[in-house]
Symmetry: none
Subunit: 200 residues, 4 copies
């Protein structure tokens, strides 16, 4: 009798092995054999579960996107005010699971790589649009639509920027500092708007 749930577990372990392999060797240097070895299975099994290297990579990217979405949603569930929602989104992007060297490395690899892979590109675009719309919606409580859009874009840019810079510095991550930098940006921008309004 086959072990129920074995397949899901194997797939997850292979995806984790893929993330780790990208972290250690770099996206362009990983091989199926490395991933299989890292997951402690034979090379053939990876194909059995994912069909091809491309499909394994695509599945890994989807996994990362899903996990990020979940982290953000969890934070949003506890947020009550628009300001808290914004903080939840920011914190979600730097949550414990997300802001680890291996995950950061894999994220950026897919981010950059997706530029030349339509299906991956589409996934990222959908995620980015949702993030932008969510940020914009909550910023609308503090400023006009156009400004909200602009600051949302700035916030997203800074989140991505902090991530990419973290990838390069092989040192340990500092979630608090990362969050503080982005929060500071948002806070200062909101404050500027509030000040401007109270002047009039």
């Amino acid at each position: 009798m086959p072990k129920v749930g074995m397949e899901a577990e194997r797939r997850r372990s292979l995806i984790h092995a893929t993330v780790d392999a990208i972290h250690e060797r770099g996206y362009s240097d990983i091989t199926m054999a490395q991933i299989a070895k890292r997951a402690g299975v034979s090379g053939g099994l990876v194909h059995h579960y994912f069909g091809s290297k491309d499909l394994l990579l695509a599945a890994t990217m989807r996994y990362l996107l899903t996990e990020l979405g979940r982290a953000i949603r969890e934070g949003l569930a506890k947020a009550e005010t628009p300001r808290e929602c914004i903080s939840a989104i920011i914190a979600g992007n730097f949550s414990h699971d997300q802001f680890r060297p291996a995950v950061i490395a894999a994220w950026l690899a897919f981010y950059v790589q997706s530029r030349t892979t339509d299906s991956n590109s589409r996934l990222l675009r959908i995620y980015a649009a949702r993030l932008a719309s969510n940020l914009t919606f909550n910023l609308r409580s503090f400023m006009p639509r156009d400004d909200a859009r602009r600051i949302a874009e700035g916030t997203a840019s800074m989140i991505d920027g902090v991530w990419i810079r973290q990838a390069l510095s092989d040192g340990s991550t500092d979630r608090q500092a990362a969050i503080a930098l982005v929060e500071d940006y948002v806070e200062t921008q909101i404050a500027a708007h509030v000040a401007r309004n109270s002047e009039t």
Copy 2:
């Protein structure tokens, strides 16, 4: 025409071909044959000039760094006040030569890839340190050292963030919007500090 100079021209044309190839195919999918074809030369010649694929890629990355450095230095030469220096640095990062799709794509590819390549990593670190120190120095005119360091890091993060987001959107680049976003960050932060100081 003397053969001297011919070599430099060939090298440059191969480097440009490499940048374009990365843009079109992605870092992990480029081949020497593609690059050679794109540059209109034989495959063997690339080795003759660069020795190996790794060396060609390293040379391409050095070229990008040099060009970026040159763009910034040119702007800085005309800047007089610290504030103008900051703007020059920002503008340099989004100068006409730098903020093109192919260059952005290549930049990010090297950026991400350098994580697993020591020699490239070192180059990027040196550049990043110089940028940070330069920004910090000029921000010191407006705020204490620790704040200057923090805002310098924020500025660099936002520059990188704008870049990476541009790579994903296949559309045309908007230098003005990119500059405005980063300038807004710096300006608002400086204003906040000035306001705080004038309060006391």
Copy 3:
């Protein structure tokens, strides 16, 4: 139902699946997984029953030979004159069970493939020798030994030729036309001999 007979049924169904798989995918492209799926059993079971792919294929070939032999023997049982025997042999080769696209395809595949597989080659040779000897024996009633041998060879060649040509035309089979073509050959040859004899 007793388990005895179950095994024979499973084996037969796997052999039929093999024949169908050869027909649909071609001898060089069939896999054990396909055959197992087609027979509605697990991949492991095929090995359990046949030991290996080669043995399954050998069993399939033996099955085809046996069925053909049976079809011919059944016809011969009803034949009384030498001429009727010849017709029975021809008709047996194009009997309903034999002259179906899937069976034809499998036959030819084994026919051609046996060239490089000693054990299969031996089986075919035995069958061919029996066919030749049978045809020759019955043709002896109408002509000298040497001519009988030659016309037997011609008859066998034409049977094989009609078969191979049928394999290529994906259309439906026309047993009557196939039989008529071969019968015409035999009839004309016999007639020529009879005419020659009556001349003298």
Copy 4:
């Protein structure tokens, strides 16, 4: 400077190696490595020239068809009467170049294999149609259209049948016997028609 004509020579030598490999190992067991070794080149070169195993096999089949067509055309060029044309077609099919064990083996392999490969199937069909039309046309001098068509089909069947039987017998080929068998069929059929006509 590259050797002019080297490419054509290489391709031809690889195609010959393919034919020989099919003869020796059988269609379903040949590997690119075997073919390369037999041609005395590296494995990579085969891909360089043909792109893939499938394309190499397709090129080999086209080569065999072309050679057969050439052999027949050469014979036809010397034929003057319809009867001579028929003999030329038959002789062409068993010409020295065609009726060799390796070529026969390869021919049959492709013949059978083409059933599941559309592009190959199409090529064979075109050739078969041309052969049938050519035979029919020349037989029309001796018999009505319908009979001519039937005998043309019979002739083609016998040619194919002689070929397939030759493939199985690993012995040396006997071109004269093969030709005689088919000629006998045609001759007897024509004679029968002539006799029938003179009766009336």
